[in-house]
């Protein structure tokens, strides 16, 4: 530690925000691929992404979606808690804002705050007043290309507590997501992502998905 005067955490945070080093925006493209063709996609991604030699990294997560009703605002605050089922790692708390579907932008952009935290988080949020909306298990592969993250995963329903977690699949496809978490003002990443998405065609068509048009979701 240095001998200099120590700064207040609030001050540090505002400095970090001003100098745009906090990754608080998510750029996202989504698509899907049938189970029968997923091997081709994995093969393609292994060729295109970093660490070509290693076998693709796998993940198996439980994602719990909660919301906090806010009296003064119409939209509730949406929070997600992600927990790895296959390894012992910190829980992840995510805030995801309303998506901006600006036509001029190549990807969906939404504000996002990712926070690693202790396993007390679910209890904490429940006592805070959050309500459980839904939960699911996602299992699949993760690839990296520079700062882009590509996941190919199977979404499964969380079965009754007595059953083994993650045995009921929701569909006959894999969800494919291409995302980057970046600080404000780095819009050029969108073009980078679009170019990468082009390279995955025609196996998978990555698009901006407007959830509101799908219905059923707030």
């Amino acid at each position: 530690m240095q001998m200099t005067q120590i700064t207040n955490s609030k001050e540090l945070l505002s400095t970090a925000l001003q100098s745009r080093i906090i990754p608080n925006q998510e750029f996202l493209l989504q698509g899907s691929i049938l189970d029968s063709a997923v091997d081709h996609l994995i093969h393609r991604l292994r060729g295109l992404c970093d660490t070509v030699d290693a076998s693709p990294e796998q993940f198996h997560d439980l994602e719990v979606c909660l919301s906090l009703r806010q009296p003064t605002q119409t939209a509730p605050l949406m929070l997600r808690v992600r927990r790895a089922l296959d390894r012992d790692s910190p829980f992840q708390l995510r805030y995801i804002g309303q998506p901006e579907l600006d036509r001029s932008r190549p990807t969906l952009v939404r504000s996002s705050i990712d926070v690693g935290c202790t396993s007390t988080i679910l209890d904490f949020l429940t006592e805070l007043g959050c309500r459980l909306d839904f939960e699911y298990v996602s299992r699949g592969y993760i690839f990296r290309k520079g700062r882009m993250k590509i996941t190919v995963s199977k979404i499964k329903a969380v079965p009754g507590k007595q059953q083994e977690i993650g045995s009921e699949t929701v569909s006959q496809s894999y969800l494919v997501e291409l995302s980057v978490l970046a600080p404000n003002g780095q819009d050029s990443i969108g073009d980078e992502m679009r170019i990468f998405a082009e390279q995955l065609k025609p196996l998978v068509q990555l698009e901006k998905i407007d959830y509101k048009r799908l219905g059923g979701l707030p």
């Binding site: 530690m1 240095q2 001998m3 200099t4 005067q5 120590i6 700064t7 207040n8 955490s9 609030k10 001050e11 945070l13 505002s14 906090i22 608080n24 906090l68 009703r69 806010q70 009296p71 003064t72 605002q73 605050l77 929070l79 708390l93 805030y95 705050i113 990712d114 926070v115 690693g116 935290c117 202790t118 007390t120 988080i121 209890d123 904490f124 006592e127 805070l128 007043g129």
Partner: protein
Amino acid sequence: MGVTVLLPYQIPEGKTGAQAIDYLTKRLLALGAIHTGQFLVDCETYISTPQHGPAKTVHVLHDSEYPASTFSILDNGAGKQIPLVADNLFDLLMLKMTSVYTSKKQTKIESKGARFEYGDFLIKLGSVTMMENFKGILIEIEYRPCVVLSYCWEMIRETLQGFLGMPIAKEYPAYFSQQIMNTMGQQQIHTKQNEVYEPIDTINQYLESFTNYRKQNVLPVAGGATGGASSAQNAAANMQGGNQRMR
């Protein structure tokens, strides 16, 4: 990471806070402790709005010893406290909840001061200020090679007696003699002093002390000014600067 004991220091009669800090600093340096910079522990408390059911309290604390973390303790108003350790971006999330949880700005409190290394010990002399008012002195002492208090309390106690020049009770500090509840809410047979120590324990001790300082509420303004003296006023001035920048 070791075991930390937090001790409110009784300022001797007739001395100001700054004089007491000065006195302790001299004694530490004379023992051979090395001054290794500053430290800061701050605490802000958020309370849920009445529309949101029974009042709940979230205490958010930061400790410069763990600069990447934000510590939160949620008090549900029914005797249940849930601790949470998160990345420091958690502060941004708290800002998103302002319509449900509002900050009680007037109770923002911090302990700030010099940090010393003395062999295996880490000693911090903190002046506690709330709203620019000097509240008292908190001494933090950490014995770093060990993580269970019952194994090293005697050593910590001896060191404390050495540099404070006053006797310290043989019993474990109150925080460590509480019974541990397990997840089922049952009391376990052993107490905190035999548990593996974690950073959240330091935070809990600070919160306990801060809560006590908050309770002994509105000191006369004159007392705050004379007691505060230079270091506390500096701290207060810095705090104010920080707030202005935030706005």
